[in-house]
Structure formats: C-alpha cells, structure tokens
Subunit: 186 residues, 2 copies
DNA sequence: CGGGTTTCGTATCGATCACTATGAATAATT
DNA sequence: AATTATTCATAGTGATCGATACGAAACCCG
C-alpha cells in the first residue's frame, strides 16, 4: 500500500512489491491473483485504515461548519504524516494513466467521487438543519471542499508541512457560507 | 504535448508519440535526443502557449482581488477546453513517479512551485498597495490559491464542466481577505 | 552516366515489464 | 522407512519498454 501510495499504480513494479513484502513471485500471485487485484486490495485497505478522519468528521454530532473544519484539519494531519507517503492515495494512485491502466484510473476517480458525494450528503443534512443557506448548491460546495482536499494532497506531496496544510485549511474554511459559531481557532 | 498532458510522462510510450507525430524512431531521437528531453520540450511549449491566462491575470493593472478572480476563472476555462486534455500538465505530467523518473517529477514540482511563487509575488504587491491586510501571510494565501487551482485541475480531469469549475472558483474567491470592490459577478 | 556520400526506415538491441513453468526440497501417507 | 504428494523458489516466458545498428534508397558531384 505504501509503495502504491508513494509511486502510483503503474510506476510501482512487481520487483519493488516483491522486495518490500519479502515474497517470491508465485507467493504474490497465489495471494493476490495479479497486480491489479493487489492494488485494489491495497485501495480497500487504505480506505479502511487511512480515511477514518473523514468519516469521523462527517458523522460527528456537530454543526456543519465544525464538521467541515474537522474534515479539512484532519486532512492536513493525515496528508502529512512523517511515517506515511504524502497526500492521498486516491490522488497519487493514478491521475494520468496509460490506456492499459484506464480501469485503475477509473476506479480511483470513483473513490474521489464517492468522497465528494459523502461531503455533499453531510452538507445536505446541514442545509436541512438550517446550518446552510437555502439557496446553496450542496454539490457545488462539496466540489469546492473536495478540490481543496485534493489540492492539499498535492501540496503535501510537494513538501508542505502540517502547519502549512493547517493554515491552508483555515483559509479555505473562510469561504464557507456558515456562521462563525464553531470556527474558533484552536 | 497533448499525449503527455493526457497520460503523463511515464505512461506515454514512444510508440504513442511516434504514431501521433508520424515519425520514425530515428527521426524522433535525432530531433529530441531522448524521451526526457522531448518531455522537457513539451513542458516549455506548454508553459509558453497554455499558461498565458495566468500571467495576464497576475500582471493586469487591476486590484489584487480582481487579479486572483481572473486567475481562477481563467483556470476554470483553460482546464476544461474541449479540444485539450483536462487539467494542467504540471499536475497531470507526473504526481507519482517511479524512482527512475524522479528527475521529471522534481521538474514538474519546480513548475508548480514557480506558479505558487508568482502568485505570492502578486499578493505581496497587493499588500504593499493596501489591497490586503498587513498581517496576512502572502505565502500562505498563495499556497491556498495554488491548491485551489490544482484541485480544479483534478476536478477537470474527473469530468467537471466549465460551469462546475467557474462555480468552484467563485466559491474559492470568498475566502480572500479583500474588499468586494471588484468581485461583482460577470 | 557512374561513384561516393549521406539520408533514412526497418529490424532489432538489451533491459525490464507482469507473469508462470519446472525441478528440487519438504511433508504426508502407507 | 519408503513412496507418494505437495509446496515453493529459481529460472525463464512473451511482450513491451526506450533507444540504435545496419542496409537500402536517394542525392550530389564529377
């Protein structure tokens, strides 16, 4: 998972995976069928172990503004862990791909879309609760938030520190059409 | 350039380039030395022909808020041209790379950093002119703006329309600590 | 019209890709 | 304990990568 996260799907060779896992080629293929299946397995593992900050932020019983604040600040932390590759696997895995790897690129896009949809769902809930203006497009705002997160992912890859990302998140939060009730600096 | 833009550096094979340019292998190597030099040539060509909207926006004799507004709306248009690959080559070219292509990944990161620095320079000018608060970190705000643009680049790649990107840009602009003098909707 | 030079496309180079067949070594069974 | 069965690592498969060596065609000049 870390190799795919660091180098992306196509640029990660079986030789690298073999050495990292300490396995022989037949062991790998017995366990994971092929490279594509192995990557998908790594993807679901990433989803289960590394995106907890997002589901927690979006499901916490707090105001919508506070939820988004937790989401972005959580991303700042998650994308810049020293012991992990920078950014988000959903972005680093494959933005551009060869024609042969289109299926993988599509899979990653699906994950990114799902994240955006989850944000939109939380915003819709907030709108229903009166946290957000009636005339707001939740899809549009979700696209903005998802974009900021993906942008943070690239910044993290380019060497931004946790503090850089936290400041970036704070700036991004100022665009939200919510009250200031829960946006105190911590 | 379009092939690298669409598929990234490593996923674009010489065979694809050969077919697209209608050249034989020796012709390519006579003209461009090797794949890496060819990519760098495509990069500078991209820089010269596709990033005009940014230099225009940042050098226009307008307020800082208006300059950033033109920058983001220009990106919305440039990243979603139907006749061009989606997004920005500086992002699509190589976010994650194999160890052998690290030099290319570094080169692209340098371009991204340069964009961010250009934004920061414009913000510093705006701060000196009184367009921005005294206590503002221009580097921090530049990082935010660059992140939004890179996020838009990913959104474009994931199928966002011009309208989607324009709406995203408008949302992002709300985070700027500037007056509303030039932020009228057009 | 012919000889020498240069250009240029084909066919192929070694390296590496994802992936697998085969033989040795171990384990299980009688 | 002998023999069968099964595991498993080494070695190598065809395909494709980026990059070139070589032979043919064309061109220039005498």
């Amino acid at each position: 998972m870390h190799l795919f996260w660091e180098h992306g799907y196509e640029a990660t060779s079986l030789a690298m995976l073999r050495e990292a896992m300490g396995l022989t080629p037949p062991q790998i293929y017995n366990a994971f069928t092929d490279k594509e299946t192995l990557f998908r397995k790594a993807l679901t593992h990433y989803h289960e172990t590394e995106t907890g900050f997002a589901v927690e932020a979006l499901s916490a019983p707090v105001s919508t503004g506070e939820a988004i604040r937790r989401l972005l600040l959580g991303a700042a932390k998650a994308y810049s862990r020293p012991s992990k590759p920078g950014g988000c696997l959903f972005v680093s895995g494959a933005l551009a791909a060869s024609p042969q790897a289109q299926a993988i690129a599509d899979e990653l896009r699906t994950y990114r879309k799902a994240s955006e949809t989850a944000i939109a769902a939380r915003l819709a809930k907030g709108k229903a609760a009166g946290d957000l203006p009636e005339n707001l497009s939740v899809e549009g705002l979700a696209k903005y938030i998802a974009s900021v997160m993906n942008g943070m992912s690239i910044q993290a890859r380019d060497g931004a520190s946790v503090e850089d990302l936290r400041a970036l998140a704070q700036t991004a939060l100022a665009a939200l059409p919510v009250g200031r009730q829960n946006q105190a600096y911590d």
